[in-house]
């Protein structure tokens, strides 16, 4: 009973703070409303017994939102503090689409005759996740890893405005890179 109430409460927090992201007037508040939504969902996942996934969600999303807030302040073309703002286009279409999506999904959720549970959870959920990743589902990890590396490279290429020619000279002969700001290990 208590678990039920807590689960519903967390769900409510997740939905309301998610909606607050697009309602509040401050970039910091919007970002951390999203973080709160993620934390609530992470805790709900803990209720669904997937401890590792739940905690990882909280860990990653709080970190990501801390960085996101910096980007928000950096890339908003207006005062990112408590000034009222409305930066939307085709608002009515968006609201209609969202409501329609929810109704269709809800109808599906309530009308479908869900099957009963097959099997029972493994005694140690986290151990079984690790064994699945390193055993039968290893291909998943093998694919995610190169995709991650490719993303890191692509992200740096897109975001960095200085190339190696800027840093090491036109013939790349310079020993120490010429950076606008020096690094911490003597470069």
């Amino acid at each position: 009973m208590v678990a039920d109430i807590a689960f519903w409460g967390l769900g409510l927090v997740a939905v309301i703070s998610g909606a607050a992201v697009f309602y509040v007037d401050s970039m910091a508040r919007a970002t951390y409303a999203l973080a709160l939504s993620f934390v609530a969902v992470g805790l709900q996942v803990l209720f669904l017994q997937q401890n590792y996934v739940g905690v990882v969600t909280i860990l990653m999303m709080v970190m990501e939102m801390a960085i996101m807030a910096v980007y928000m302040v950096m890339f908003m073309g207006m005062n990112p503090a408590l000034t009222p703002m409305s930066m939307v286009h085709s608002n009515r279409t968006a609201v209609a689409t969202a409501v329609l999506t929810f109704l269709v999904l809800a109808a599906g959720i309530l009308l479908v005759d869900w099957p009963t549970r097959r099997g029972s959870p493994p005694p140690e959920v986290t151990v079984s996740l690790g064994e699945a990743l390193m055993g039968p589902k290893m291909l998943v990890m093998a694919v995610i890893s190169p995709v991650m590396v490719a993303t890191i490279v692509a992200g740096v290429v897109l975001a960095a405005h200085r190339t190696r020619y800027d840093r090491f000279g036109d013939d790349l002969k310079q020993r120490t890179p010429e950076d606008p700001q020096r690094g911490g290990v003597g470069r």
Binding site: Q50, V53, F75, M76, L105, V125, L129, A132, V147, G155
Partner: protein
Amino acid sequence: MTLEATLLIAAAIFSVGLYGAISQQVVVMVMMGLELMINAVILAAAGFWWFLAPAPTGQVLLLVVIAAMTLEMAMGFAVATLLHRERQADMTDMATDLTR
């Protein structure tokens, strides 16, 4: 705590995220909408796993979703930085090169 309850909450989060992704003008806000939609997918997948098929390997899907989210963030920020540097653009309406 039932499957229906979990999925209804997830559907609500997803719809809010969809609204944000369609309506917001600022690139970073659009990304927040996408994040919210992925958040809903995490919850729904966790619900399906626990209530329908708690097989040992099922959670791998959740890790894939989380990985997808990090990729979305990384590339999104890279593109946002590039757009901002190249043309001082922070709005989706200022980067419509690929529309008809």
